[in-house]
Point group: C2
Chain length 274, copies 2
């Protein structure tokens, strides 16, 4: 089933970055369930000579809680290996002396505890899910429109993600709503921003051409990684849709059934012909 | 205060179209209050030889209830003089045999009673205000993304409007959210759509150059009318903001303090020098 032509460059790879939701696990109200074979696949990658990092646009929980949830599912993963938008946003806000009005999920608030939030001079929007009430979006809008120069940060710009009960709107549509209402362009912190990917590469000590990104989101994972100079592999799990194959601007370097198959082919190609 | 150069073309005018909210009245939780001088101004227009129509993107109430509210405020206005998006949408839906999933304000539902809503093959989004919960927007998104060819109708595309307690998000930002989530472009029914303005002109039996639109919304009232070949006059009431004067693409033919001043200058110019 899988086109394995992408494995021809596997020998020169020195690192892999994995997306989390839709690659390692499917989310749901119960916290989510591992995708079959993914716990073992992560183990195999860790046992190989490849450097491994995890890169997520997850903004519904603090990194601590989020990683604890993955460990409970059986994944060998630690906080320092995970890159997510909120800590990156905190660094940007402090660097520029900005005080955010937060429109985020309750579980993410603790990430911003060290940032002054009085008299806001910008808005940060994350995947707030049920917190995206009319009133809350309107409050964020009023802060923005009241600023002489509205500044909007978005923690990712995903369109939607898949949960057990179906597809759910992600932060992107709400970012677009605020952009249109206030005639501004958001600064995206997280995938597919090159700044975000480069912070991961820098931590790995690798060049873009030495690293492959594996994700279920064609635009944010695959497209973002490719813009950065990495290879982008798409899995047919999570939010993958067959129509992704006909996308007008992004074409994955390869497509595989799931992470288990990706790791099989990748490590197999590196081992060389028997 | 007012630049009255626009009145030079007043003699050739044969009709006037008035926006409602922000021109005749300011909305609010109590149903709204007339803007000083506007009841009298409408009376004077009706007593003149100019044809008069009202054109609104109001989609929070059926036309019947909406006009009754205005009559109670003292306005001389009847249902057949008012053009609003919902009846126009119903006509389009029936013409194309489309069955809508409605994301609108409760008060508007009765306008769609005559339309088959089983097994939806399109989404209609209006100014749903408090009904814009995450769950409701997600439901509309799921209908759209599940269609082979998603079709989205928007009842207007306004960014925001002014109520007694401040600015509120209008339908436009939510239209943009769904457009982005499903990678579609909405068909806008209502201002600033030329189709919508032409239906009003047709009812008046007038050509665009014979008619002036008066509104508080620079893009939807003034810009929409101008694209159609009408003159567009902006009032400094409702959602008017001083920054409108520096708008990058729309420039009003004239700007006046309020409707009362517009009618004073208009009728004065038509009477000619004393």
């Amino acid at each position: 089933m899988a086109d394995s032509s992408w494995t021809s460059s596997a020998e020169s790879l020195k690192g892999v970055i994995l997306d989390l939701c839709g690659v390692l696990y499917d989310s749901g109200e119960d916290g989510g369930t591992p995708i079959p074979g993914s716990v073992e696949a992560v183990k195999r990658l860790k046992a190989s000579d490849l450097k491994l990092r995890f890169c997520t646009n997850e903004t519904q929980a603090s990194r601590d809680k989020f990683v604890a949830k993955l460990q409970k599912m059986g994944f060998d993963i630690s906080v320092c290996e995970v890159f997510s938008p909120a800590p990156a946003a905190v660094a940007v806000l402090k660097d520029r002396g900005m005080r955010p009005h937060l429109l985020v999920y309750d579980g993410l608030l603790s990430e911003f505890e060290s940032v002054d939030q009085t008299n806001p001079n910008c808005v940060v929007v994350g995947d707030a899910a049920g917190n995206f009430t009319y009133e809350n979006l309107n409050d964020a809008f009023r802060v923005l429109i009241g600023l002489e120069k509205p500044v909007l940060f978005a923690l990712g710009k995903g369109r939607y993600y898949k949960e057990a009960d179906g597809l759910n709107l992600d932060v992107g549509p709400y970012m677009k709503a605020l952009e249109y209402a206030c005639d501004v362009e958001a600064e995206v912190i997280g995938k597919p921003s090159s700044v975000f990917f480069h912070s991961v590469l820098s931590d790995m000590g690798l060049q873009p051409h030495q690293v492959m990104m594996v994700g279920d989101d064609l635009v944010n994972d695959v497209g973002g990684a490719q813009l950065c100079g990495m290879k982008g592999l798409q899995v047919r799990t999570g939010k993958y849709r067959p129509s992704d194959q006909q996308h007008r601007s992004v074409k994955a370097d390869g497509t595989v059934d799931d992470l288990a198959q990706a790791v099989d082919l990748l490590l197999g190609a590196r081992a060389g012909p028997l």
